[in-house]
Symmetry: D3
Subunit: 232 residues, 6 copies
């Protein structure tokens, strides 16, 4: 494992981050061609939060949260901490004290491919966390990892400064360079969905709105009136 | 995989469905001899909902939600969509647009052995879903499956028109033919439990209410006053 | 499997139990040297509850809840039921009727390495449960196990009369003999954390509060200004 | 759980069973339209075995192997024991003594959605088993289940007398009525594959043998000469 | 985590260890009342090995194999290394170099609730290992654990000097004090099984050998001649 | 999902690939700084094989093996097929026919984050496969993916032309550019290990060879003569 902490990273434009936040995970994920989604086991500790921010990436040794302390100094207002571990891990690497510091420094939230604890306190403080587990198991500070290097987190590759979007649907990563174009595509997609929503609310079938009947027939779908027709 | 959509299915009597809904999953499951329960990984996206309805069954290819669009046309007021997949799958096959259409058509809820997305929207809309996962991963529309054929869903076999009951305890299936008799047995069971509840609330032991002391002794249970008695 | 029910157990002092409850799982776990934590799959059926009490231990055969009935008679006001099973199990061994009896007898809550059902009722009754699963699958009463013998529960060893603490972070076990000293250490730890919290709230870095900069350098951490410095 | 043992079952024709055995799991599964496959966690205790036979179905309570003893009497030469459990289970329900009896009665092998033990002995005896786990945990004989009723086993529905095929690829079930037609389709499929094999061995591409180039282009596949073409 | 290495431990009598080895895991586990079995995920890296020995216990931090080096010095001819970790872990903590040293010191084998690597070399060397995973992921030497303290390993509690038995069925622990009595009971059990084996080989039913027919009838088992009898 | 097949890729030097193959997974993984290892669930279908080759990367839709056919045409003598899927998947995407073609084209083996079937045939043919599962479940050819684009496979990022090394320990990826330097470092490491092996074989402790005694004492390790010293 490298042992490097990178002090300065490039961030996406604030307006693009704000735009991605308002779009949410599902739309952003679609808008960038279905890439960058973390695995489904990443769940929020409380429902209803939606955040986006520039990733401060942290690579920890299992059961060791030392690098989280290093990362705190390198965070700016609006950043999101994203923590990967070099093996599967569920240690409670983050609790109310680190959350207190993170909030003091303007960190938007935490995405961690490991465990978190003090979740009742974090919920009361309104500090959102997406984690693999809720577990109190304590950590050591013995092995140096890295901050702001490219990492893997819950199946997604992420580089420092990439934009992380998280909500009740999970967590998605947008490469820094792509933030603007994905935000734009996402808005177009959302607008398009809006126009569809009214028709669907009126009970119009998606089969008709999206012209699916012919492709379905071509692909071999057969309609029968009742199951009796099949069985004879 | 067959490629059939069955237009018309037989449904259970409305009063039986209503009765099963008011009994809930645990009682219905007991009343029909402990059959028909889906696996424990099927969890609601929000708590507090309890529904019952006639199953519109959908068999999808993994990562493909095409048949859900076909199924929408075949739903009636009060039906429940039940989705199986031919392999383990967590794709987000259902989101706010399909939920909008489902609500417009009177569908009561969704039971899906795969993933769901837009769960904050679905929660705000009050559209209940029981799923294996919450995941945004998008789907294709490339492989034809079936609607209203017998399927497997989360370990339970289900035929179109069977009654699906779902609440915070999970999901249970009652064969259409058995709906009436199970509802009746369930009511008897609930009444019986009600009479027991008062005695238990008064602190009477279940050991005595159910006459368990003698069978326990016969089966070999020994009481000792303290652990010292065993060790010393 | 032994077939013994032990009538009387020794309990920790009430004031120590109360102190442990107010400290919560994460602090207690730290205070006793990071032992006694159950696995992370033990989750509460509703959030916000925090309990501590003397363990009435129950060892069940899979799919058989007979010993829970035996245990009820041996509970006192303030006790916590702790249930282990001789294999991995998810049966719904406990529901609203047993909860009614448990509440009548003053039981504080249930910790069960298996399933629970009627969770909506239990939530309305305010009876807290930490379980491996929510599942309605019914149980038999055919095989005798034991009550108040040492058991394993979710990866933790527990003896009757040990103190169980449970909250949104999970479940922790403190040996009866150690309750007083752990409570004391926990309070010292909580006081210490309180003093740190103010400094962290003011934005002071944990790197400085805990004097980590020198050990990090000794362990090989290198700071670079930007990623360009590494690559080029 | 029902408590029934059915003495006599109908079996498929011996020649069809033999034919299915020689085809193997993968071919049989394809020949019957990709149905009837058990989940991938069912693994053989030793490699190289391939069997087919009429299913004697056994439904056990978790941790209880009583019905296996009942089933032994109802087996005939050439049958295969298929064991389901009413919950997920890993108990070692079967060992060298039951295998000795099974071999004495001409049973071909065991398929069990639970655990097995004495695997070194079973391997030496040449008695093939496909199981979910290898685990020594002992069982009780306390709860009556059923023999020769329809059961679920590792995700597949199976009725007594259905044909079970098992080899290194896993386990597949063919309904008794379909044994003849599936055997026929399987042979046709195997013959067809044989003719393809020679062409593939000669290095002819499947793209050409199966005329896939045009459908791929229609579905949107684009060839580029090198990755530079995409990026720059 | 404590940081202690205990130099000297008490061991069971050599003849009892030899006796337990020849009985094997399944018989030993039964003979001591079905206790002490590790979970089923503990698998041998090659089949056919059967060992027993006194446990040298090792408690590691995840991803850190430092204590294995400490343990080597404390091993005697005939001992077995048993490694627990403070969280779930799959790091490859042991490979061909440590195996070379272990063999030089007369260690019989390794039981590790984590990962192992160089398995082809270990297989060629004939050094048996039972592990949770095979994984090359390397470890650090940064956090001190303990040697020869009581640990948990794969769900079983084990103290230094307890006897560990391992074969193709898995791993079982016998407390040091109990080694003699369990060996005796195990031999009696094996003798008894031997006498049953001959009768079973001759096709005599276990139903009759163990007099199960009456208890089965009492417990509610009903025989029917065919499934037609049930259905109508 | 992109729909691109890249015809030509750059490959590492043949001598570097050969060198990496002879070093094996564990050494290569260490030599490149503990990166590039696939998850531990990737297991060989038979033991004893060790391969290295240039990766032809394939990105499939779940349950769809169409791109494998496309990839075959783009393989050269000595290449290794590496297959990722856009969701977790266990379909049997590869069997004896594709293996026949692969061998005809000189492909060294297959690494697939999904299922494989016909494993007895593949074993007899000597075609090595590392997969997530063995499962016969058949696939469709309906959704276009990509060949020779960067993919994720079993937790590792891999680009076309990177070197894949696979043996009984699992699978490791070395970036094309790094093949030479990693091969060199690996040889140095292997040589160094060789010199250590002789000393270890003679029973010299790793504690002494690696000078660990002082760092252990500094890190807090305390030796005691016996457990009595702690307790009493």
């Amino acid at each position: 494992m490298e042992k490097i902490a990178v002090r300065n990273i490039r961030r996406a434009a604030a307006q693009d981050i704000t735009a991605l936040e308002s779009l949410g995970v599902a739309t952003v994920h679609e808008a960038q061609g279905r890439k960058g989604l973390m695995r489904s086991y990443m769940r929020p500790i409380f429902t209803g939060a939606r955040i986006a921010g520039s990733a401060i990436t942290v690579l920890n040794h299992p059961g060791d949260n030392w690098m989280l302390h290093v990362a705190m100094e390198l965070c700016q207002q609006g950043d999101v901490l994203v923590v990967g571990v070099s093996d599967e891990d569920e240690h409670g690497m983050f609790g109310d004290l680190l959350a207190t510091l993170a909030m003091a420094r303007g960190v938007r939230g935490l995405v961690i491919d490991a465990g978190v604890r003090d979740v009742r306190d974090l919920t009361e403080m309104g500090f959102p966390v997406w984690s693999k587990a809720i577990w109190s198991q304590g950590t050591v500070k013995a092995t140096v990892g890295s901050v702001n290097v490219p990492i893997m987190c819950a199946g997604a590759a992420i580089k420092p400064g990439d934009v992380v979007i998280a909500d009740d649907d999970g967590v998605c990563v947008v490469p820094r360079d792509a933030a603007g174009s994905v935000a734009q595509k996402g808005k177009a997609r959302a607008d398009n969905e809006e126009s569809k929503r009214a028709r669907l609310q009126a009970g119009e079938l998606s089969l008709d709105i999206y012209d699916m009947r012919e492709p379905l027939a071509d692909a071999g779908l057969t309609y029968v009136d009742s199951v009796d027709e099949i069985n004879g």
